[in-house]
Symmetry: C2
Subunit: 321 residues, 2 copies
C-alpha cells in the first residue's frame, strides 16, 4: 500500500483547473502500487486516477511510460491512458513532484489464479506485445540479465544472512545464466512486471493491465518467463505445469512462439526468478528493523529459483512434454 504524498483539496483544485475534467466530486488515497502515490479521483466528468511519482521515478523516463500507455490504449489494448491537460501535457507537477491523471480502468485482480486465469493472462500479454509494435519510444532494461551479477555483488551478505550457503548457490546460478542466456530472440516492448496484481479481469476474462513503470525493450519471451513465475506457482512452492501450459497456450493464440523461444523458456524463467529474488533481497536488506511495512519475502523467489535450478533439462512448457 502506498500513499507517500498527501494532496489537499486546494492542490487538487489547482491541478484540475488545467484540465477539461470538471471539478472534484470525490478523492481518496488508494492502497495500490508500491513505488508511487495513487488517488482515486472522481470529477463531474468521469473517474480517474491521480498518480504522484515518488523519488524512484526518473523524470526523464516518465514520458516513455506515459507515451507507451497512451499508445497501447490507442491500439485497442485495455490499459489506463494518461489524460492530457488543455495544453496537451500529460506530465504535471503537484507538491514539487511529477504527477499524471490517468483514466480509470475497471476490473479485479485475482489472488490465486486458476489455469483459466493463466490462459487469459497469457492472451493479454501477447496482445500487449502486439499492440506495442511500432511504438517509437525505447528504454533499456534497468534490471536485465547484465545487471544481476553487479547487483548481487552488493547483496552477498544479505543472501548469506537469509540462508547460510545461499551466496555461493546464487553465484553459481548467475555464472550459468551468464553462460547460457539466450541471444537473438525476438525483441520488443515488454511489461517486465506482469504479476497478478497488475492484471485485471472482468467476469473471468482478461480486462486490462496496469503499472507499466518497468516496461522496456527486451526479449519478448522473457516477459512470458516473468509471468510464469508470477502466475504458475502454488502457495506450497510447487510449479503448476497445467497453469504454465495454459499461460503459454493463451499467449500463442495471439503470437505463436518460435521453436527457439519455446526452447529458451526454462532458462528465461530461471533468470526471471533471479531478477525478482535479487530486487526483493535488496529491498529486504534495506528495511529498518521494526518497520510496520515489510517488503515482500525474498525466500518466495529463492524457492522458485530452486525449482528452475533443479530441473534444467526438463521441457517445462508447451506441447513437447
Amino acid at each position: 500500500m502506498a500513499v507517500y504524498t498527501d494532496i489537499n483539496d486546494e492542490e487538487l483544485a489547482l491541478l484540475l483547473a488545467d484540465y477539461d475534467l470538471g471539478t472534484a466530486v470525490a478523492f481518496k488515497g488508494v492502497a495500490e502500487g508500491v513505488e508511487n502515490s495513487n488517488f482515486m479521483l472522481e470529477t463531474t466528468v468521469g473517474r480517474y486516477f491521480l498518480t504522484v511519482y515518488e523519488k524512484r521515478m526518473k523524470a526523464e523516463e516518465l514520458p516513455f511510460f506515459l507515451d507507451l500507455m497512451r499508445w497501447l490504449a490507442r491500439h485497442d489494448y485495455p490499459c489506463a491512458s494518461p489524460v492530457a491537460d488543455r495544453a496537451g501535457q500529460t506530465i504535471k507537477q503537484v507538491r514539487g513532484k511529477l504527477a499524471a491523471i490517468i483514466e480509470f480502468l475497471p476490473g479485479l485482480s485475482v489472488r490465486r489464479p486458476t489455469a483459466a486465469h493463466c490462459r487469459e493472462a497469457g492472451e493479454g500479454l501477447a496482445r500487449l506485445h502486439l499492440a506495442a509494435r511500432g511504438f517509437p519510444g525505447t528504454r533499456k532494461p534497468a534490471l536485465g540479465q547484465a545487471a544481476w551479477a553487479p547487483l548481487f555483488a552488493t547483496l552477498r551478505e544479505d543472501a548469506e544472512a537469509l540462508k547460510p550457503g545461499l551466496a555461493a548457490t546464487i553465484g553459481t546460478d548467475l555464472d550459468r545464466l551468464a553462460r547460457t542466456w539466450p541471444q537473438g530472440l525476438p525483441q520488443g516492448i515488454i511489461h517486465e512486471d506482469y504479476f497478478p496484481d497488475n492484471v485485471f479481469f472482468s467476469g473471468g476474462k482478461f480486462a486490462g493491465a496496469i503499472d507499466f513503470y518497468f516496461a522496456c525493450v527486451d526479449t519478448l519471451a522473457y516477459d512470458i518467463a516473468v509471468a510464469l513465475n508470477a502466475w504458475c506457482f502454488e502457495a506450497d512452492g510447487s510449479f503448476n505445469i497445467t497453469s504454465a501450459r495454459a499461460l503459454v497456450a493463451g499467449y500463442e493464440t495471439h503470437r505463436p512462439l518460435s521453436p527457439a523461444e519455446r526452447q529458451a523458456l526454462p532458462i528465461l524463467a530461471h533468470g526471471a526468478a533471479m531478477r525478482f529474488f535479487l530486487t526483493r533481497l535488496e529491498a529486504w536488506g534495506s528495511t529498518p528493523a521494526g518497520a510496520l511495512v515489510r517488503p515482500k519475502d525474498p525466500l518466495e523467489y529463492e524457492r522458485k529459483l530452486a525449482v528452475h535450478r533443479e530441473a534444467p533439462d526438463l521441457v517445462l512448457f508447451g506441447d513437447q512434454a
Copy 2:
C-alpha cells in the same frame, strides 16, 4: 492510511453472494481511516465501501454504530448508510473479522478550512444532533471527562518525555477540568470525532459526515468544542476567532445554544483538547521506534491546551465579545 486486512477476489465474491448488489467490477484498498480497513467497492449495481473492523472495534458496540448511521441516513442526514444483505443483516464476517458494506458518500474533505467551511461544518453538526433525536440506541462515552485522569495516570512519563514539566501542567489542568466540568447541559448523540477529514463538502457546501465509530451519548455542546479545536486553529497554533464564531453561528442556524451551553464552551474546548492530547500521547508512546507510520503529533494538542489554559476567562465564542 489503513489497510490491515487483505481481502481477495474469492472472499469478496463469497461476501457479495449474500447481497443483492450484483458482482464486483472494481475493488481497491483505500487509505482512509486509522482504526479499520476500508475498500472502495464498485459492483454492477452501484458503488460502496467495504469496511473490515479491526481489533479495536468491540463486536458488541458495532450494532450501535451501524444502526445510528442507518437512522441518520433515514432522517435526511447525509451519511453513508450500511447495506443489509438478503437476510437483513448489516454485520458480516470476512476472514474472521467483522465487516459491513456501506453506501458510497461523495464529497471532498478540506485540509485548511476557511471560516466559510467552519460555518458549513457547524450547520452539519447541528443537523446531526437534531437528526439523531429519538434514536433508541445508547452508548456511554469511552473517552469522556471521567476517563481522562485515570488515562493520564498511565502516561505521566510519556508527557514528561515529550516536554519536561508537562506532567505537572497536565495534572493541574485535569484537576481544574474535574472541578469545573459543566453539568446538566443538554445531552444527545454526539459524533465525538468531528474533524475536517470526517466531513465532506461539495461545491463549498456541507455534504455529509463519516466515521461515526466514536459516537456516544454525551453533552451536545462538547461536540462543538471538539470541532472548535479541530477546525479553528491555524497552522501556527493560533486560535482563529472568526472561524470559531462562524462554526458556532452555523450550528445555531439549526440549533440555538442556551446561555449555559454558550458559557460552557471555553471549558468544554479545554476538555476536548485534553481528550485528544491524551489519546495522541498514548498512541505516540506505544509506537515502536523506526516505525514507518508515525501517529499524530501530541504536541499539536499540547499547544491547543495551552491556548485554552491561558485564556480561561475570555469570552471566546458568540456575540458577547
